[in-house]
């Protein structure tokens, strides 16, 4: 344990650190369960719409940039790896390593958002952005518009989660810098990691559902 570590007292409602850690972890898992259902509403809408308009979804898919999507998936998977390693470093009390890995995670996260922004910008130029003047020509036009509505809502909500995640990691990185953690106490790092991985998992599903729709159902 590094000497400059501030002793972090156990909050008054707990008996010991162990209870506090487990409570925090459970709280985050429960929160993630609610997140599943939060995204779940959108996934249900997607399911119903895709079932109703399979052809329109296939048409819409031709407008998607699979390469950028795949690159982004890779970026996000890498960020999950650095996150996991960052937590491991924190477990072992390696402050510097942990700090570097968290920063790396944030950088990958930002890269993801950057690529996403490029994609959004292109869609915007192509007029595939919901709002006034959003008209997709062709017989399946209205259903294609529905696809893009879902696309923007789902990826938008996901991106919002990424932004929140990066915010959390900023705080965590600062805390690491101030030597707040030790092998005894690293729960905040771990719990933020859970959140980050969860956001990754959402994307793991968004990618095939939004980018890899095959013309035949």
């Amino acid at each position: 344990m590094s000497d400059h570590a501030h002793p972090t007292p156990v909050a008054h409602q707990f008996d010991d650190r162990e209870q506090q850690t487990e409570v925090g972890r459970l709280g985050m898992w429960l929160f993630l369960a609610t997140e599943i259902l939060f995204f779940g509403g959108l996934f249900t809408a997607y399911l119903v719409m895709r079932w109703k308009w399979p052809e329109a979804f296939a048409v819409a898919n031709s407008k998607m940039d699979v390469t950028l999507g795949a690159i982004n998936t890779a970026v996000l998977l890498t960020s999950s790896l650095t996150m996991a390693l960052g937590v491991r470093a924190a477990q072992l009390g390696r402050g510097k390593g942990s700090f570097a890995l968290i920063i790396a995670t944030m950088v990958f996260g930002l890269a993801f958002l950057g690529i996403k922004a490029v994609e959004y910008a292109r869609k915007f130029q192509e007029g595939l952005f919901p709002g006034p003047g959003f008209v997709f020509e062709g017989a399946t036009g209205r259903q294609v518009e529905t696809f893009f509505s879902l696309y923007f809502m789902m990826t938008g909500l996901h991106a919002l989660h990424m932004v929140v995640g990066i915010g959390i990691l900023t705080v965590i990185a600062a805390m690491i810098r101030r030597g707040r953690f030790s092998p005894d106490y690293y729960a905040p790092v771990e719990i933020s990691g859970l959140y980050w991985h969860f956001v990754d998992i959402i994307w793991i599903f968004l990618f095939p559902l939004l980018y890899l729709i095959h013309p035949h159902l």
Binding site: A11, H12, Q13, D15, Q19, E22, V23, L26, G27, L30, F31, A33, T34, E35, L37, F38, F39, G40, G41, L42, T44, A45, V48, M49, K52, W53, P130, G131, P132, F134, R142, Q143, E145, T146, S149, L150, F152, M153
Partner: protein
């Protein structure tokens, strides 16, 4: 660790008087009080809307207000009563106050989240109220699309934002309770020793945590569709209106159990204490709470029997609706059986509990009418539905809330309420309630549709009766407000355990000290070990 020095006279109430000490508190008991003020306020706001509605309905040709205004009135009445009064009522007030004490903990698992949940609640409520005063909302509390997304001219988007925000307060509360019950129980307090109130709030919390997020995302989609014209719910722009109904009821049916389960928990406590017996079939009652919470997720389609939903799906939802009624029946029978050979002490909370059992049973049994598809075809969207849910929500849940407030009033404030007045107002409420809502069953079977601003003249007699009942009801709610406030200063000092109850919260001072217990209690038996008969009553 704990402060043994807590002297007689230091409690959560007199531990600081500044505004800051209230608005920045993380003490679950103080947060409960903050919630109490907020929801009582909303109850009277929602009640005032109801009064205006009832006045309007006294004559068949609307005279008091415009049609638009009437539509806004029932919408705001429904929204305020459900989202801002009933859902937070027992959980956020009594649950917050009692759960930590009942499990022998110093606080909830996440005290700061708890405070945050109140602020989120106030923020959400403010946004919604802002929408209501700057133009109102006329969609009904069910926000059916495409009316809400494309046709209403009122403040849909801000209202949706407000409800979206409020949802998170519910989620935070539920999350806090679940983790607390899992991880913060005192030594020896096993699951089957927990008070039934804790069981029912645990079940409630499951519903809050798993259902509320879907409502949040659904209202968000409504707001987006309205703001940007994307096509999710409106068929004219590529959406599907029944998709909205599925998503909405996936939340809102389970939500009715968020409203009733806590009241059931209160009734279990009250029945045990005032008959001085453990609730009969404790394990069945506890399991019934969980069963209701879980089954409750499988029946939402019973709100859609005439919506154009597939008839086969309707069949499935109908039979599941019958199954969800069984655990409620189990509870009613077990409460009744508890009284058998008890020592019944007829105090106000028990009076309310009796009211709850009777009225909830009527409301619940009329739910069986609605779960029967053939009958629901005739009854849906008529006043029969209005009567059904007011019997459960006002006759059941609000009576349960009143029972709980009276039962724990001495614990919360350290004072007793005036018993005579309390019994009198319980009676007034019972009479007023039945006079208000029983005629609505008849109106519904006669075919009077709900959300009607004017109606054919032959329905007038029953409507006038209902309005008369509502004014009695209004008086019945004002009396407790007055005597409870009065008792704060003038009520008899209660002492730690005026009812001779056995759950943990009664073992500490009234009002409780800030850290709840001088030392963490160690539990060695179930929650309802009343002294043997002989000690109380020699035979």
């Amino acid at each position: 660790m704990s402060h043994e020095t807590a002297v007689e006279g230091t409690n959560y109430l007199n531990n600081g008087y500044s505004l800051r000490s209230w608005f920045l508190t993380t003490d679950h008991k103080r947060i409960a009080i903050l919630y109490l003020f907020t929801i009582v306020l909303f109850f009277f706001v929602g009640g005032s809307f109801a009064v205006l509605m009832r006045l309007e309905l006294m004559s068949p040709q609307g005279t008091l207000v415009q049609a638009e205004t009437y539509n806004k009135l029932f919408t705001m009445h429904g929204i305020v009563m459900i989202f801002f009064f009933l859902i937070p009522s027992i959980p956020a007030v009594l649950g917050n106050f009692l759960i930590p004490m009942m499990v022998g903990a110093r606080d909830l698992a996440f005290p700061r989240l708890n405070l945050l949940s109140w602020y989120v609640f106030v923020a959400g409520a403010s946004v919604t109220l802002f929408a209501l005063v700057t133009g109102g909302l006329d969609t009904g509390w069910t926000f059916y699309t495409p009316f809400s997304t494309s046709y209403s001219n009122t403040r849909v988007v801000p209202a949706m934002v407000g409800i979206f925000i409020t949802g998170f307060s519910s989620i935070l509360t539920g999350l806090n309770f679940i983790v607390t019950v899992h991880k913060m129980r005192a030594p020896g307090l096993t699951w089957f020793r927990l008070p039934l109130f804790v069981w029912s709030l645990y079940a409630t919390s499951l519903v809050m945590v798993l259902a509320t997020p879907v409502l949040a995302i659904t209202v968000a989609m409504v707001a987006f569709e309205r703001a940007t014209g994307i096509g999710i719910f409106n068929p004219a722009i590529g959406g599907d209106p029944l998709l909205f109904q599925h998503l909405f009821w996936f939340y809102s049916h389970p939500a009715v159990y968020i409203m009733i389960l806590p009241a059931m928990g209160v009734v279990s406590e009250v029945i045990a204490t005032f008959s001085r017996k453990e609730v009969f079939g404790y394990r069945f009652v506890a399991a019934a709470s969980l069963a209701i919470a879980v089954y409750g997720f499988l029946v939402w389609g019973h709100h859609m029997f005439v919506s154009g939903q597939s008839v086969y799906a309707g069949l499935v939802f109908s039979i599941l609706s019958y199954l969800v009624a069984i655990p409620s029946a189990v509870k009613v029978f077990n409460w009744t059986a508890t009284l058998y050979k008890g020592q019944i002490w007829f105090q106000t909370p028990l009076l309310y509990a009796f009211g709850f059992i009777g009225l909830f049973t009527i409301g619940g049994l009329t739910g069986l009418f609605l779960a029967a598809m053939a009958v629901d075809v005739h009854l849906t969207d008529t006043y029969f539905i209005v009567a059904h849910f007011h019997y459960i929500m006002v006759g059941g849940a609000v009576m349960g809330f009143m029972a709980g407030i009276h039962y724990w009033w001495p614990k919360i404030t350290g004072r007793l309420y005036p018993e005579g007045w309390a019994k009198f107002s319980a009676l007034v409420l019972f009479v007023g309630f039945n006079l208000t809502f029983f005629p609505q069953f008849l109106l519904g079977y006669l075919g009077m549709p709900r959300r009607y601003y004017h109606y054919p003249p032959e329905f007038q007699v029953l409507n006038v009766l209902s309005t008369a009942g509502a004014s009695i009801l209004g008086v019945g709610y004002l009396i407790p407000l007055i005597y409870l406030l009065w008792s704060l200063k003038r009520g008899k000092v209660a002492g730690a355990n005026p009812w001779g109850a056995t759950t943990l919260e009664w073992q500490t001072a009234s009002p409780p000290i800030t850290q709840n217990f001088p030392t963490t209690p160690v539990v060695t038996s179930g929650s309802y070990e009343f002294p043997a008969l002989e000690e109380v009553h020699s035979e």
